[in-house]
Symmetry: C7
Subunit: 76 residues, 7 copies
């Protein structure tokens, strides 16, 4: 990832992020870590697709399933 | 990316770009940054598919989901 | 994988993990080993999709089929 | 790309090319630049699928979406 | 593949393995060899999908089609 | 490509080849050039799918869309 | 490919092989050559899917379309 993109991700650590996945699911959680493949670890992850909330706990999500990462609570 | 292509992308920073995605969605936003994989960060992103506008906020979009990037407001 | 992600996976060895796959199946088992491609070996693996349990025994699962890995019994 | 293929593409710069895409769309435009991944920039691009013409402006099109590039106005 | 994963595969040589494929087929056979891409050779391979048995003889199966490898007769 | 495969392709230059594509289309044309990714340039290309002939002119076809290349007029 | 796998393929040169493809087609032919990507050349190739035989002549088949290679006439 480009430097600024990596910085943006780093700034989102320990914040709530919203992941749109390629399978049309939406997952929300507290970003713990990520790598250059956009593999992510989330705490207190929830699948919030289809107006339902399913608790997922701590998950490792493979980056190649991700469409986009939203940072709804970023205030900078 | 080739040099000219990278330059074109760089010239579009802080401008509104229109992304057509492989899943047939269309996303519009203010281009902040990009990397060699065409991973992009957008400010004030909006999903404008299907004649609806859904606010997405600041997003990081994985490049492998992109079909094309339009630069509708480029005047050079 | 990033160092912390690799650490998280290592800490899950000999614990029960829950795998969501790209084909919508869900597999549960005792994590034995993994590599940088997220290829995993599981003991006492079970396919628990569709409210049925199918015993799989010891399996090697290719990482490129994985959507996410949940660590439901992690207490740290 | 092989040398001759690269030369063919280079000779098509500033000419109208016709792109058939993997999603069955057809796009026409003035080729500005390309890179080794077949990422292309087009001026005055138009989606001409389904007997309709939709103006796209200047676009950057990811090469991995391309089926073929036709050079209808090449006279060499 | 990680060392332990490679060891597990090596220990399965000349044993019956069960392959679940990405196209939902199931293939069983005597594992002869494998490489780092999980390309496998099987003796006396059988397609056992859909409650039918189709003899395949000696086959080379490309690893990128594999979902998982089960080792049902492993006793260690 | 292996040496003999590359030689076979080279021997087919300036001959008519028949391409079966992954999207089930069939394209015929005079092979001009190719590279290690099996990207090909064809002169007087024609889409001959579905018992119709559509003239394509000179095209560059991305190799990752190809299923097979037939050399129907090879006499060696 | 692993050494033994490559040897197995080499031993099959000038023999009839049966290819199952990812698009569910089955192709039979006399193996001429192959490379590390499992790209193959076949003489007297035939599409034998759906209980029909279609002559294909000499073909180059891209390896990434292959599910498995059967060696029905191997006697070693």
């Amino acid at each position: 990832m480009g430097d600024e993109i990596s910085t943006l991700m780093s700034n989102s650590k320990n914040k709530i992020v919203l992941l749109r996945l390629r399978n049309n699911k939406t997952v929300r959680g507290n970003l713990q870590d990520f790598d250059i493949h956009m593999n992510l670890t989330l705490h207190e992850a929830e699948d919030i697709s289809d107006n339902k909330i399913t608790k997922l706990g701590t998950i490792l999500l493979r980056g190649d399933n991700i469409l986009s990462v939203s940072l709804p609570e970023e205030e900078s």
